[in-house]
């Protein structure tokens, strides 16, 4: 038994595999430790330390492309034999799986028997130490702080009846800070993605936001319309992640996706942006490392439980502005005579040679709107990936290279593909945190963008 009161994860994998009576079996143990703290109204509010463990068993009957599968998962310390039996029951009653592929031997990690990673509230010690004085100062200055910090360490153990034994430790952290004026008329946000909080300074975030709140001393009301906008990397992540979410090969071939071409074809090979953008995921991207093998606890249009354990390599979705890949599981790739394309759990947008920072983009602006982040983003039209959403916590008017005041919020209607096509200037790629999606997509690196004719559809009175 480990300290948590749970049996060792590698042993759970072995016990489940030996309980298997099927032709093939995959066992995934995901062990999660996390700690979080939330604050609002200049006070800490909720918190938590959690220990989760989910065991997923995929039972497989039959061979190769004729196999049937059943999937069952349980959290907690249930007898692995019970989970295997439940998965086998479902597999027996199933038809041949659409995504059936041979289970492979996909390697053995030397650290497979190691204990899972862990975390606790001590990871936030420097943050909590800075938070008390930040609250006092905010109270004295008439500002209201709120925010959230979370650190999760997810250790995945994956074993198959074909001998695969993979282990991956994924730390994921983020901290967000919102500062509002006491009357609620001005607000601003900062968010940072991190793996260990060693690179986080709450005091520095606080200083930066105090400066930004100062920009709101002058308030400017602007009407809806099409504006030149300067989007910081975080706001770019909010929209560009939707390109990744929509990059399903099967859905494109079915004809109901922005990446569909007539007669069951896809738009792979089509130039989508004039600027030669690269958009890619890479398990080995420095600072953004993610699992280098497939972990699929259920099958979907482009992910398959049969592919568990197979390596994930770098995938370039857009190469020099041209759509070059869509997501496919092995069975889908075979049917479509294309490459197996599993998705890394990170996303990077870059333009070769772009090295300017956000401040330089602002300094180069004659008249435009500097955004902070976006919110409540939803798909309006799947055929062109039109999204709606709001600007949030800071829209600033830039004139002749200087921020001259804070502007009201807007509802926008824009497609991220149109956005990249309308981009006129690109900054250097840096770590970014999508405020909208970081809970599901924490690891992103994006450049700041200057975009022409961004559609601010209506004014939002919200602040």
């Amino acid at each position: 038994m480990s300290e948590s009161g749970l049996p060792n994860a590698d042993e759970v994998v072995e016990r489940a595999l030996s309980a298997s009576r099927a032709d093939g079996c995959v066992v995934i143990v995901e062990d999660v430790a996390d700690a979080n703290v939330r604050f609002a109204n200049n006070t800490t509010t909720t918190n938590g330390v959690r220990r989760d463990r989910r065991i997923t068993v995929v039972a497989i009957y039959g061979k190769g492309e004729e196999a049937r599968a059943g999937v069952f998962s349980v959290s907690g310390s249930t007898d692995p034999g019970e989970i295997v039996a439940a998965a086998e029951l479902d597999a027996k009653s199933s038809s041949v799986a659409e995504d059936a592929s041979p289970l492979e031997e996909a390697g053995v990690d030397a650290d497979f028997a190691d204990q899972p990673g862990s975390t606790d509230l001590s990871v936030f010690s420097p943050v909590l130490t800075d938070l008390g004085p930040a609250f006092s100062r905010a109270l004295a200055d008439g500002r209201v702080l709120s925010g959230f910090a979370i650190h999760e360490v997810r250790t995945t153990y994956l074993g198959t009846s074909t001998g695969t034994r993979r282990r991956h430790v994924q730390p994921t952290g983020s901290i967000e800070l919102v500062e509002r004026s006491a009357d609620g008329s001005a607000s601003t946000w900062a968010g940072v993605g991190t793996s260990d909080f060693a690179d986080v300074s709450l005091a520095a975030m606080d200083e930066r936001l105090i400066g930004r709140l100062g920009w709101a001393k002058r308030k400017i009301e602007l009407d809806a319309g099409r504006y030149e906008v300067i989007m910081p990397p975080d706001a770019v992540a909010d929209l560009v992640l939707e390109i990744d979410f929509a990059a399903s090969g099967r859905e494109a071939e079915d004809g109901g996706s922005v990446f569909s071409a007539p007669e069951g074809r896809t738009r792979i090979g089509e130039r989508l942006t004039e600027l030669p953008f690269d958009l890619f995921g890479d398990p080995f991207a420095p600072g953004l490392e993610s699992a280098p093998f497939v972990v699929a606890s259920s099958s979907g249009p482009d992910s398959s439980v049969f592919d568990n354990g197979l390596p994930i390599d770098k995938v370039t979705w857009l190469k020099d502005g041209t759509l070059s890949r869509l997501r496919y599981h092995r069975a889908g790739a075979r049917r479509s005579k294309t490459g197996f394309t599993p998705s890394p759990d990170n996303l990077v947008l870059s333009l070769h040679g772009a090295d300017r920072g956000l401040d330089e983009l602002v300094a180069n602006t004659e008249r435009g709107l500097l955004l902070t982040c976006l919110w409540y983003i939803r798909e309006v039209d799947r055929s062109n990936l039109l999204l709606t959403g709001l600007t949030r916590d800071g829209v600033y008017l830039v004139e002749n290279g200087e921020v001259v005041g804070a502007v009201n919020n807007f509802r926008f209607n824009e497609s991220p593909l149109d956005l990249l096509a309308k981009t006129t200037e690109v900054g250097r790629t840096e770590r970014a945190l999508s405020r909208e999606w970081h809970e599901w997509a924490n690891r992103t690196a994006m450049p700041a963008l200057r975009v022409a004719d961004f559609n601010m559809s209506s004014v939002s009175p919200a602040s």
């Binding site: 199933s94 209201v144 946000w189 959403g389 824009e414 559609n455």
Partner: protein, 502 residues
């Protein structure tokens, strides 16, 4: 333990409770609440009548919330032994102490009588998670095959989500509850690619998710064969319909669409924790601030909105909430005026509002309870009030909207934009075909101020969602919204193709 505990009694519940609550008391906690839950979630996803993926998940674990020296602490684990119960108390107290170092207001809870040891079970006939996978697959397969046989339909996606939730709760005030509820969400969408002369279109069922058992698929609460029979012709008609002319229109909104507008513009706006700033960094705040209670004109005098955790088949319905408060029903908006908020015990006490109205909920044993949405419902007109057809007959030039699709609202719940499954043109009191590319956009109080007529009780329908998001770490709650069909005068309709610059 009782029979409906879903197997929770296989675990040493009483010993865990004693260990956790006694350890918390020993450590000086003024209060502790233990939840042990088992949540079974099943999903079948099909594409073109073939299984694409399945989920069958049994989440089992426990969470302990304590109040220690006026600070809240929470810890959760999937390990279920008495030792783990004691350890959880140590961890929760540690969390309370660690975060209190950064300063914090003292937490007190509104009074609630002890309810002793009680059981509650929702109304259902067949727990949907007891239905074999092969039966669920066969049902979706048959419905998908019917849709695929229509010439207008190129592809069909179908999903069925089934949940069974067993919850044990015990606190240091002597309330011990055992509760069981179920829910079901079937959904089918047909896609038409057409001949390539225009963009593709989809048509999805408007059947709502419900707090019912598997009998829902056999006609208890919805006529699936009837709706599915209409989908291909509706889709074909939509493919050949004109793009909407943007402008101001009178709208008749069906409950299958209006529920989501209620959810976003009334449900979230009347959560008092939001209005007080406790969600400022995430879900947002509210224009309906506390100083406006009893004064804010939310909408026209026809507007009567209630919150409840008691509606039969309601997705937010329970016997007792996650702070041991008995389920209630209450007014939020009466005669168009803001008269109430959704509360948990901390917020009720803080604002001096007396008893909590029972809106505390945690979506998992590993998450801390926070204020979550009750079933927030717009009350209909009288029993002999207008039918939907009557409402349409009264419109000269307008649009009738059915089914929800895209939704978005700002962080203070002013500015929203919604699309739908079916936008029907109304000319001189009659339906005159469908429209494509429509969305409605408005400011909450303008929109509700434009409410001109309510359908009668015959038009009332309980709709809702499984996936209402709030809180950090994110929590997902199921919630229902009942409403009649209703008429709104002069609402802005956008053309989404034009919005995209096309």
């Amino acid at each position: 333990m009782v029979a409906n505990d879903g197997g929770l009694s296989e675990h040493p519940i009483d010993a865990i409770r004693s260990a956790a609550l006694e350890r918390a008391t020993e450590l000086g906690c003024s209060r502790a609440e233990l939840r042990i839950e088992q949540i079974r979630t099943q999903v079948v996803a099909m594409r073109d009548a073939k299984v694409e993926g399945t989920v069958d998940d049994r989440a089992l674990g426990m969470g302990l919330r304590v109040i220690h020296d006026g600070a809240i602490g929470f810890a959760g684990t999937v390990a279920l032994t008495p030792d783990d119960g004691r350890r959880l108390a140590d961890l929760a107290v540690g969390a309370a102490k660690a975060t209190a170092l950064a300063g914090g207001e003292r937490v007190e809870l509104a009074d609630e009588p002890s309810h002793g040891t009680v059981d509650w079970t929702a109304s259902y006939k067949i727990d949907p998670t007891t239905v074999p996978l092969s039966d669920r697959v066969a049902r979706l397969e048959a419905w998908s095959t019917d849709l695929l046989s229509a010439t207008a339909v190129d592809h069909v996606t179908a999903t069925l989500m089934s949940v069974s939730e067993h919850k044990y709760y015990a606190d240091t005030s002597g309330t011990t509850t055992t509760q069981h509820r179920v829910r079901l969400h079937p959904s089918l969408e047909a896609l038409s690619v057409g001949d390539g002369s225009s963009s593709f279109e989809t048509m999805r069922t408007a059947a709502p998710p419900v707090g019912r058992g598997y009998e829902y698929l056999d006609g208890d609460g919805w006529d699936f064969p009837a709706e599915l029979a209409e989908i291909p012709s509706l889709l074909e008609e939509k493919m050949h319909s004109p793009s909407v002319e943007p402008g101001m229109y009178d709208l008749v909104i069906d409950p299958t669409n209006l529920w989501l507008t209620i959810h976003e513009s009334v449900g979230h706006a009347t959560e008092l924790d939001r209005a007080l700033g406790y969600e400022a960094a995430y879900a947002g705040t509210s224009f309906a601030t506390f100083d406006k209670l009893g004064k804010l004109r939310y909408g026209s005098e026809l507007m009567h909105v209630t919150g409840d955790r008691t509606a039969t088949y309601g997705l937010a319905s329970v016997g007792y909430d996650d702070e041991g408060v008995a389920a209630q029903s209450f007014d939020l908006v009466r005669d168009g005026i803001l008269v109430g908020y959704q509360l948990d015990r901390r917020i009720a006490k803080r604002q001096g509002l007396g008893r909590s109205n029972g809106c505390a909920f945690a979506d998992s044993p590993l998450n801390i309870p926070i204020q979550r949405m009750a079933n927030v419902s717009l009350q209909p007109g009288s029993s002999d009030g207008p039918t939907t057809q009557d409402l349409i007959s009264g419109i000269e030039h307008g649009i009738y909207i059915v089914g929800d699709k895209s939704w978005s609202i700002d962080m203070q719940r002013y500015n929203f934009q919604f699309t739908g499954q079916r936008f029907f043109r109304i000319e001189n009191g009659r339906i005159a075909g469908q429209l494509r590319d429509a969305a409605y956009q408005a400011t909450t109080t303008d929109f509700w101020g434009s409410l001109r007529a309510l359908g009668g009780k015959s038009t009332y329908l309980l709709c809702g969602a499984f996936n209402c998001g709030k809180g950090q770490p994110g929590q997902v709650a199921p919630v229902s919204h009942g409403c009649p069909a209703a008429v709104f005068e002069g609402v802005r309709i956008l053309n989404t193709r034009a919005e995209s610059g096309r």
